[in-house]
């Protein structure tokens, strides 16, 4: 049960976005630009970074949401996502993505945990400065989203299939599809998971 009365029965971050539309708007915009805006990381790679950080933060709602999105986006599907969440070192991913996930894992601990050599390794594996930047910011942003979702003890979806349905709607509509309308986050796929 949520720590405060949110006045709605939505799940995870959606219940918070509905509760506080003033902060929902910039959070939805941030999720949209981070996960779907201009950049050379694929949408699937970004969702995978989000799922990986959320799993390390033990945020069940965000992990399930972004694992579902990544599984729809990536050719390797659920199998690949599960392998990455179990340990990116042994997952069949590119050296570049493995290096970026190492950076994301460091950010999850602390900004100061990102080492010069981690960044150099990512560069040697072909990551651009912008891709390193975006990885750090996606990882940092999910340290916020995860803490928001769990810090107020929001409710996870009772049905695992619900995450996949929300992921599919999100792919069609984006993270801010209905922002600015009333009930901004009531439609699945309309705001940051």
């Amino acid at each position: 049960m949520p720590h405060i009365d949110l006045g709605n029965d939505e799940f995870g971050i959606r219940s918070l976005l509905t509760y506080r539309p003033e902060t929902a708007r910039p959070m939805g915009l941030l999720a949209e630009v981070l996960m779907r805006g201009p950049g050379t990381l694929t949408h699937g790679e970004r969702e995978l970074i989000a799922a990986y950080v959320s799993a390390r933060n033990e945020c069940n709602y965000c992990t399930a949401s972004h694992a579902a999105s990544a599984s729809v986006r990536l050719p390797g599907g659920v199998t690949l996502v599960d392998q990455v969440l179990a340990g990116p070192e042994t997952a069949p991913i590119t050296a570049k993505l493995a290096a970026l996930l190492r950076i994301a894992g460091a950010v999850q601990q602390s900004g100061k945990a990102v080492r010069e050599e981690d960044v150099a390794a990512a560069g040697e594996a072909g990551a651009t400065d912008l891709e390193i930047h975006d990885t750090v910011l996606i990882a940092a942003a999910f340290c916020m989203f995860n803490r928001y979702v769990d810090g107020l003890a929001t409710t996870a979806r009772p049905d695992p299939a619900g995450y996949l349905a929300a992921a599919q709607l999100n792919i069609n509509q984006g993270y801010v599809a209905t922002l600015g309308q009333s009930g901004a986050s009531q439609q699945a796929g309309s705001a940051a998971d």
Copy 2:
């Protein structure tokens, strides 16, 4: 020295906001609504929560920035801010603010670290649900800002007085004063510190 070439000589988060204007805009909007938007926590209390979380994350730039802002905003000034950063349990603050800082400290560790009894104690000390919500989100957001600033190894201000000058400009102009213009974050006080 920053981990990547940011192409500018600004300090802390400003160098990142200039480097990546696409993500700067929603981050500035989020900082503005969190720190200065509608709500019943005073601006000084919000800045104090931001400084406290940043100090626990050992982010020197953000701690100095928000400690300076809090010191200008709060009647107790620098002395009070220093006392809170040294340990809110013994600082001369209201029971409500002490309870909210306990929640913020839990969020800094993990969303799951916020306990039912911490929230109940804040309510008993007079905090509203909205104030508890805003405290959790401010603390969560600074877990993002801090990781962003340190994860890319941005440069702190060489001159401590610079933080106070930036805080004063921020009070006058807000966190998004020049967003949407080119060089959005080049003017002190124009975006999230």
